[in-house]
Amino acid sequence: MAISNIWVVVEPGTTGLSTTSLELLTNARTYGATVSAITWENGASFAAQAGEYGASTLFDVGSLGGALPGVPVASAIVALVASQGAPDAILIPTSYDGRDIAGRLSARLDRPVLTNVTGLSDDGGLVTEHPAFGGTQIVKAKFTGETPGIIVIRAKSFAAESAGGAAANVVSAPAGDTGATGTAKITTTHVEERTGPQLEEATIVVSGGRGLGEAANYVLISDTAKLLNGAAGASRAIVDAGWVPYSAQVGQTGKTVKPAVYIACGISGATQHMVGMKGSKNIVAINKDPEAPIFQMADFGIVGDVLKVLPELIAALKARG
């Protein structure tokens, strides 16, 4: 069955649509299908960008009135499926809000959802790719029931490329009454001060793990990252331990990064972590244990104590000015 219609949920980012949204639009237009996008809050302002990356129509849910996006956006999509007919697939970015939208939509439409997708292909219908066991194996899957298939795709799975398309046609797609489910409201938004680049956008990522010994030593990671004009990340172990916030976590349950160089400090290389950084162009590892799995994928490994190597590295980088 040919793929004729794909909808892509595109999220407002800090400036314009989020990078992952543009990656999904770029991929969606490779199947020869009509691509429509769905967004919220200030849809008209994204029409040019959505069109440039391949969407002919941009459905705008409009202002959410402080509600978290999951419920109203899913509700609007359910209404669109009823009025426009079901597309072959709905692509959604893996993000805090994207996952909410996917879960709500799946339950409302009674359709299954495939998540953690890192690749898509057309084999008489969309075939999804999922990394398993730390990315050592790739699982390929497809939907067998009625459309639409709901597919949640991880960041950096595709490159975002402009198609030079004209602005998308903006069509209002209100959420309607969401009842009790829509009663969670944002009262205040806090933007955390960030000095360097974002974790997912940085050219250099310096990440710390259990080998740092204690929370106070994480400053070695943030200092090194700062000096390299990179971003600081973390393994799940130290996020679970409460040393650093969840937002810094790289791995299966955290962020996917693909920097020019990933510097893993005191990280053993659990499968959980590897899947989030194995796409890095270069990997540097510092670990006391010469048998740590991280060395199996490191381009450059130092068998040593991060508490000794990092202060020296910081001093050397400072000396370079």
């Binding site: 805090y96 996952r99 959802v113 499968t271 001093a315």
Partner: protein, 257 residues
């Protein structure tokens, strides 16, 4: 205040993992309580404590042959457990799991449902929100901090840029991130007490569910499992006092410095 915590018994993540012949995760070994769930259990215990009344019920789905993980949650302080266990559940997807959990949760009629953001074995990460939708509840995911004030829950929710303060009336479903609270270790007394706490084992028939479960209910199919392209190990040097310089030289060679 009555709270349900959804928990999952998973194969030890530190042990080698594999698929069985039907591409299901091999769960034949020992199962443990997913560490990601311990934050929800701890949070629930603290909230009930603060409220001064009520209890924590853990709800799970999976094999009832080994209940060590569920007993662990009871040993931490949960009052009772509901375990939905049925051979027909093998191969059930996230939405089918949500349907099962939602039916089980209805029996408790809680003020709050807590879940991890995702399990540490399957990682689908949509089941909690699917449960909320099936129960007709609001949800707040990725909670970094949780307080209950009367009939309102206030949450700091992780965002890309920082965090949002979000409020919702109860009942509500939350997913909590790791590190939100420090999970207690079960005391000896707790472990002994857990042995006699009630664990209700239900079949899907008991819940009035049928076709939603198993591979047919999943409406998705694994086509193949192939080895991913692997990275080759590169140079490995033992630090002899010049590691910092060696790293700088490497960074220069790949032109990031």
């Amino acid at each position: 205040m009555n709270i349900v915590v959804c928990v999952k018994q998973i194969p030890d993540p530190a042990a080698p993992q594999s698929f069985d012949g039907s591409h299901n995760l091999n769960r034949s070994g020992k199962l443990i309580l997913d560490e990601a769930d311990t934050y929800g259990v701890e949070m629930a215990l603290q909230l009930v404590d603060k409220a001064g009344s009520g209890e924590v019920t853990v709800v799970s789905m999976g094999s009832a042959a080994d209940l060590a993980g569920v007993r662990n949650a009871l040993a931490m302080g949960a009052a009772k457990a509901i375990m939905v266990s049925d051979d027909a559940l093998r191969g059930t997807d996230a939405l089918g799991t949500a349907k099962v959990l939602a039916e089980a949760i209805k029996r408790v009629n809680p003020d709050l449902v807590l879940c991890a953001t995702e399990s540490s074995d399957g990682y689908t990460g949509t089941t909690p929100v699917q449960v909320a939708e099936l129960l007709g509840l609001p949800s707040i995911t990725f909670a970094k901090s949780v307080t209950v004030d009367g009939s309102t829950v206030k949450v700091d929710r992780q965002t890309e840029a920082g965090y949002d303060e979000v409020t919702s009336p109860l009942p509500c479903l939350l997913t909590v991130t790791a590190g939100v609270v420090e999970p207690r270790y079960a005391s000896f007394k707790g472990i002994m007490a857990a042995k006699s706490k009630p664990v209700e084992i239900l079949s899907i028939g008991d819940l009035g569910l049928g076709a939603v479960t198993g591979p047919a209910g999943a409406r998705q199919q694994i086509i193949s499992v192939v080895a991913a392209e692997s990275r080759a190990a590169g140079e490995k040097h033992v630090d002899e006092g010049n590691a910092a310089q060696e790293i700088i030289t490497f960074l220069e060679s790949i032109k990031v410095l």
